[in-house]
């Protein structure tokens, strides 16, 4: 059983913003229980053909590095500086102004100076200066350089796996440094000497093997979707069709696998199924591309590319016109910012056009993939669905902008437009915690493990604090989000910091409000919670 973390009050009181007396370079990293992740399982590394699979754990003194590990990292560093001009610019351009320093949820929740994005990047930048700049080569420490030692490597592992690649800091950087890309480079370098975490490599290996992070095989996938179809019929009286691997369908729909496995994700799945049926969408699920998420993004370019290609290979095989994506977070960072050069352009598909409204999604001209919030808000805009927002009156909702849809694709207004049409009680959290400035759930980019729970609770504190504000002031009782990691990690976070606030997806609310042709009177919402009796005995 997981050990109970500190009490909330104790955790808050343990946050100390005063930096240690010693210089950061002289302060060794300590692997505290609850603040790091386990190493990757050997069989999963082998499955992905990743280098130097071996048994080791971060708490052990000897990480069993290959003999020439320094040479490997130096070469890897050089290769990446040559390959990515952006990486070299990010290494050179930072003036250490500190605008990012207090913008990181991990810094706010831990007070550890090395969690200031500027200093986290400096962990890498110091080695860059020493090895790749003239000043650093000559002056070493005086020019802010330092040699790559085992101590430095351990520091990299600890702190680059204490960054969720959420990019809130980047919003405030006057130079526009993409700090997530610095973390991505550091993780790639760590991978070169076999330092990986299990919560990233096991889902990636599973996805490569069975099509999804959970390792669900096709017959299990079918079983889950069919169960949802049956239950939706019980709830609404409407039997929907949910085709799987249907060749020639117009649209391939790809959702995160947790939507057909976990709760509260599942209620969002019911919402998708109800909506697609009601508008008569000619679509298909796929058991091969049964994952929207891409844990490869958290690992390396190569792994991201391999996992991303499955969606497009399947779109080609099934002969669909375009791809619709579900309530997934980091999937959209991959699609919107990397897919085009990873596996694109997907010119064997068509530029997406909504078959219901005729809207052409011009912005998806290259990736041929549309976010479900865009799709649904367009349906509502064209009055194509009938909605009864009163069926969500038991919810007082607020919306957590999931980091990647908000910051990586600018999906700010569409979710709000939909919420405002399906819910009567929508209350925003404070402005500096939403939209582009949204605070991370604290568990993204593969860090959502039990062993990392203390760090997750610390990192999630700013988000939870904003929820607490609207809970106490406006009686908010549900936090909506459009990312499966959010749906998995916000419930324990809120249970810890703000009990009595639930977590749900926007399409769960859509499913509740959607008036379906031929439906029975709804006695419960999609969670099975009975609606209160209306005066005159009529149910809402």
């Amino acid at each position: 059983m997981a050990e109970k973390p500190k009490k909330p009050q104790e955790l808050v009181q343990s946050i100390e913003y005063k930096p240690p007396r010693k210089r950061w370079m002289d302060t060794p990293v300590e692997f505290h229980k609850g603040t790091f992740n386990y190493s990757a399982a050997v069989d999963k590394l082998k499955y992905l053909d990743l280098p130097y699979p071996r048994k080791w754990q971060p708490t052990e003194e000897d990480w069993q590095l290959p003999d020439n590990w320094q040479e490997i990292i130096h070469k890897g560093f050089k290769d990446r500086l040559d390959k990515y001009r952006s990486f070299r610019v990010f290494m050179d351009i930072c003036v250490r102004c500190g605008a990012c320093a207090d913008k990181c949820h991990y810094f706010i929740g831990s007070g550890d100076p090395r969690n200031m994005p500027v200093l986290r990047a400096e962990l890498l930048r110091s080695v860059y200066r020493n090895d790749f700049t003239t000043a650093g080569k000559i002056l070493g420490g005086l020019a802010g350089g330092r040699k790559l030692t085992v101590k430095v490597l351990k520091e990299w592992f600890y702190y680059f796996y204490q960054c969720t690649e959420c990019r809130r800091c980047s919003v405030f950087c006057p130079y526009g440094i993409d700090t997530a890309e610095i973390t991505m480079m550091a993780r790639e370098l760590l991978n070169l000497v076999g330092l990986n975490i299990d919560w990233i490599c096991t889902p990636a290996a599973n996805c490569f093997r069975t099509g999804n992070h959970l390792g669900i095989q096709p017959h299990g996938f079918k079983d889950s979707i069919e169960f949802a179809v049956d239950e939706l019929e019980e709830l609404t009286g409407v039997r929907v069709n949910a085709p799987i691997n249907k060749k020639g369908a117009e649209i391939l729909f790809v959702a995160p696998s947790a939507d057909y496995f976990a709760s509260p994700h599942y209620y969002t799945l019911l919402g998708y199924l109800a909506l697609f049926h009601e508008v008569g969408l000619d679509y298909t699920w796929s058991s091969y591309a049964s994952e929207g998420g891409n844990f490869g993004l958290f690992h390396s370019y190569e792994t991201m590319k391999r996992l991303n290609s499955k969606i497009y290979m399947e779109a080609k095989r099934l002969g669909v016109k375009w791809v619709l994506g579900g309530e997934c977070g980091h999937m959209w960072r991959v699609i919107h910012q990397y897919m085009d050069t990873l596996n694109g352009p997907a010119d064997f598909l068509e530029v997406p056009v909504s078959p219901i409204t005729g809207t052409k999604f011009e912005h998806a001209r290259s990736t041929r993939m549309v976010h479900i919030m865009e799709f649904t808000s367009d349906l509502i805009r064209h009055n194509k669905i009938k909605l009864d927002p009163g069926r969500n009156d038991h919810w007082r909702v607020t919306f957590h902008d999931s980091c990647n849809p908000a910051r990586a694709m600018g999906l700010i207004e569409e979710p709000r437009y939909v919420i405002n049409h399906v819910c009567n009680n929508f209350i925003e959290m404070p402005e500096n915690t939403i939209k582009e400035q949204t605070f991370c759930c604290g568990s993204g980019s593969g860090l959502g493990t039990d062993e990392n729970m203390e760090m997750r609770l610390r990192g999630g504190l700013p988000r939870a604090n904003a929820v607490k504000f609207v809970h106490e002031k406006n009686d908010v009782n549900i936090l909506l989000c459009i990312c499966a990691i959010d749906k998995a990690t916000l419930p324990p976070l809120l249970e810890y910091w703000v009990p009595d606030v639930e977590v749900g997806g926007i399409h769960e609310m859509v499913g509740n409000a959607l008036v379906m042709t031929g439906e029975n009177e709804r006695l419960t919402d999609l969670r099975g919670t009975p609606y209160p009796e209306k005066e005159g005995g009529e149910n809402v």
Partner: protein, 105 residues
């Protein structure tokens, strides 16, 4: 990776105590693993849940959807947490000898 020993039971487990070779699961193993979850007495309800998971796992190679688990055993999620305080995935699945679900869960 470690060896978990309890009475006559000795099995390989991962860092979270999940067994590594699910084929070696039996009722004795389940009882032994249950002690690590704070369950010293496996009641009829505990077995109902564990056996359901086990059967599903043998058929599909994975745990069922949480919603399905609740519906088919007749236990609410709250009840599942009462039976196994770490919850369906980390508690009940562990005792049933399943591997840990990973990803956005």
């Amino acid at each position: 990776m470690a060896i978990f020993q309890h009475g006559s039971v000795s099995i390989d487990v991962d860092e979270d105590g999940f067994m590594q070779e699910p084929d070696k699961w039996n009722e004795e193993v389940a009882k032994a693993l249950a002690t690590t979850e704070g369950v010293d007495d496996m009641t009829e309800d505990h077995w109902k849940l564990v056996n359901y998971l086990r059967d599903y796992y043998l058929k599909y190679g994975i745990a069922p959807m949480i919603r399905k688990l609740c519906k088919e055993t007749g236990f609410s999620l709250k009840k599942v947490y009462e039976l196994f305080p770490s919850g369906p995935a980390k508690g009940a699945c562990k005792v049933a000898g399943l591997s840990k679900p990973t990803g956005c869960v």
